[in-house]
């Protein structure tokens, strides 16, 4: 009977409110539509930045000029970094999938502040426009690297001001999303959903949001100071006037190190969603995984100095930062071990999203473990600012968060669009991505240890073999990614209708029949147990009806429900 009522409600895609057509999207306050708008915008920039990446690989195919001049190359890697970091990887999972699924997983009708949510999308677009405009105005996009190190960034004749302005605005957008999520998680959990009954994706987002709120302002002011320095010459970052370039690096990394955990924590949250679903079993060590997210977020604030081991920072400081850096590995390890343990005595349903998660665990571990090489003082001093670092961060960013972004798309695609894609093609594409990825980035570790510095337009001939291997890898990766997106796009247009719960997921979004409606739930559900319990229901989806059935036993059920 409940289904009948639901069937009459239009889903969020069909819903016609005050505004129709395109305005119904641009003025929407629905978290799901805003999520999709983010998805579209983010995909556009992701493709732009990926194309820049592939162009860089082409340039590196041969020593000397291959397809571009040094000035172009310098702008290309800067823009590649800026777009990937600020326009893709930081907003991707929180702003798209967090927006879409966080409220549903919490049993809420929307985020706490829908208007702010839309506002943050517009800020994102504004920042994106500025980033793109910096290409075509003034003397062209910044050529400083995404780190904007002074004093080069205040001396460069390129349009650095506009690029930093873009990053500044994007930072603001990120803060607003984070703030919204913290309040949403505190205030809008469904009745019965205690902290330790919250899905782990929500935990990941919670930790992420705190980083967004508490770290982002620091980069805001730092970038603003670069702009002021360029316009007015206030001196705080200009060594000619007594400013200290190392202080700039402190301020930059105070934000940008925690930011790498903004990138990875939501992805780790999704891993914790996908694994129990396909293992068809409760997750191993729920509480440890939940708490370790907060642990990573906190320790993440204490390690920024590991980016500055050769900058001339005090020796004492280098030692402290190196020691602290190693501590981040512990909560991350706890997560990895718990994930693997979840598979023990499971009954695994092998599907595309699960395959991506396996790829993630393998590739991210490589990335993380090489992070330890960078964390150790002696080795970092040798490999810092070489391709070893480039390999490390592509393994964690692309191989970690990027692969999980793909996994997330495959996992929630049926619930977002109501369509099903070809799993076979998805798995083939994933295999190809894994091969191409490793061929692209693994040689960089070797080159890096051999002493190939990063941000080099040109290189010494002894590196050419590795560069060729790497470039060929990028082509394999390109086709894999094109294949994957093609598959999804085809499904979107022509795919068969997806079942309500194709994977047997246990969290609230899978309990919704069909696509979510405007308000997600006809009635706010009542939660009676943990999120990944497979052998009994832990949610009462239609409390008013079901309670009458069971003589108002919701309370009792809740008490009995194991709350982990």
């Amino acid at each position: 009977m409940a289904n009948e009522i639901l069937a009459r409600e239009p889903n969020y895609l069909e819903y016609q409110g005050k505004h129709k057509g395109i305005a119904g999207w641009l003025l929407t306050l629905d978290h799901k539509r805003i999520g999709l708008m983010y998805l579209m915008a983010i995909m556009v920039f992701f493709f732009v930045a990926m194309t820049l990446g592939v162009l860089m690989r082409l340039e590196m195919l041969t020593p000397g000029e291959t397809i571009m001049k040094p000035q172009t190359y310098n702008s290309v890697f800067t823009l590649h970094g800026v777009i990937m970091v600020f326009l893709f990887i930081i907003p991707a999972i929180p702003a798209v999938f967090g927006n879409f699924f966080l409220p549903i997983q919490l049993g809420a009708k929307d985020v706490a502040f829908p208007r702010l949510n839309l506002f943050s999308w517009y800020l994102y677009i504004l920042g994106a426009i500025l980033a793109v405009a910096s290409l075509f105005s003034g003397s062209g996009a910044a050529d400083t690297g995404w780190t904007f190190y002074v004093p080069y960034s205040i001396r460069s004749a390129q349009n650095v001001t506009m690029t930093t302005m873009a990053a500044f605005v994007l930072g603001f957008s990120s803060i607003v999303t984070g703030l919204n999520f913290v309040v949403t998680i505190h205030r809008l959990r469904a009745p019965g959903m205690t902290w330790f009954r919250m899905p782990l994706f929500a935990w990941g987002l919670y930790a992420t949001s705190w980083i967004q709120v508490l770290a982002t302002p620091v980069i805001g002011i730092t970038l603003a100071l670069i702009m002021l320095e360029r316009f007015l010459g206030i001196g705080v970052f200009d060594p000619a006037l007594g400013g200290d370039p190392i202080l700039y690096q402190h301020l930059f990394w105070i934000y940008s190190h925690p930011a790498v955990y903004i990138m990875i924590l939501p992805a780790m949250g999704v891993v914790s969603e996908i694994l129990p679903t396909f293992a068809r079993k409760d997750i191993f060590g729920y509480k440890q995984i939940a708490i370790s997210s907060l642990g990573i977020a906190f320790i993440g604030y204490l390690v920024w100095g590991h980016h500055m081991f050769v900058s001339g920072m005090s020796d004492a400081s280098r030692i402290v930062f190196s020691l602290l850096t190693f501590l981040v590995a512990i909560p991350t390890g706890v997560k990895i071990f718990n994930w693997v343990a979840t598979l023990y005595k499971a009954s695994i349903k092998f599907s595309a999203p699960f395959y991506y998660v396996l790829a993630f665990i393998f590739i991210f571990s490589i990335g993380g473990l090489t992070g330890l090489v960078l964390g150790a003082l002696a080795t970092d001093i040798h490999v810092t600012d070489t391709y070893f670092v480039v390999a490390h961060f592509h393994y964690v960013m692309f191989g970690g968060m990027g692969i999980m972004f793909f996994a997330t798309m495959h996992y929630w695609f049926p619930k977002m669009f109501g369509k099903m894609y070809s799993e076979k093609i998805a798995i083939i594409a994933c295999t190809q991505i894994i091969i191409g990825f490793n061929m692209l980035y693994f040689p960089m570790f070797i080159m890096g240890y051999m002493g190939m510095p990063r941000r080099y337009y040109d290189y010494l001939p002894q590196f050419q073999g590795w560069h060729i291997l790497s470039t060929v890898g990028s082509w394999i990766l390109v086709t894999g990614i094109v294949f994957m997106f093609g598959n999804l796009l085809y499904a979107l247009l022509k795919g068969p209708k997806a079942p309500d719960n194709p994977w047997g997921g246990t969290t609230l979004e899978w309990r919704i029949k069909g696509l979510p409606t405007l308000e997600n739930f006809e009635e706010i559900p009542v939660v009676t147990g943990g999120p990944y319990v497979h052998d009994r229901p832990t949610y009462i989806m239609h409390p008013s009806k079901e309670i009458q059935h069971t003589n108002g036993d919701a309370k009792k059920a809740e008490k009995e429900g194991v709350s982990h």
Binding site: D30, A108, K109, A112, V183, I221, D244, L251, I254
Partner: protein, 212 residues
Amino acid sequence: MTEYTETAEHVHESGHMHRDDEASKMAMWLFLFTELLLFGGMFLLYGAYRFQYADGFKVAAADMNSFIGAVNTIILLTSSLSVALSIGAIQRNQKKLALAMLWFTLLCGLGFLVNKYFEWSHEISNGIYPGGPALQEMSNGQVIYFGLYYVMTGLHGLHVIVGMVFLAVMIAFIQKDIITNSNYQKLENAGLYWHLVDVIWIFLFPLFYLLH
């Protein structure tokens, strides 16, 4: 506690308006944290440079007019009081008093800015501004001191202006009875913001004016 709070600002057409003051207060505090850390970055720079250029900073600070600084401190403290009082007045349903207090706060804010204006123009007319003739003669420590001085007090001044805009909107809301004795979280939030601006000045004042 009779209703399920759907969203703090529940705006779906189909839904009825729900209010969650707790949520909006929480959001306001989070926003204040971001402001705090924004200035925090600047204070960190100040601390670092003061550590490095202790003497230059002292010499530079000797130029500052600590009297104007002190007056401005008192002005802001008083304005904080009046905002707090206006909330108290709204709680007691004394609309007139609340309005008067807010107008008084705006006046204080204006006074603060006027003072700042005179102070800045005095410095500038002496050639003390980034790239200015007097500054070019000075030591690195002094240059950075004044660089920070202009950025930090400028940013603070900007916040005073934003705060005044907030409070002006609150005045309109009170007049239209949107803010009442049972619904005044908006005013609380504006007040929180204003107090934050005050708190930041509480630190700026000794750091820039009392360094002899």
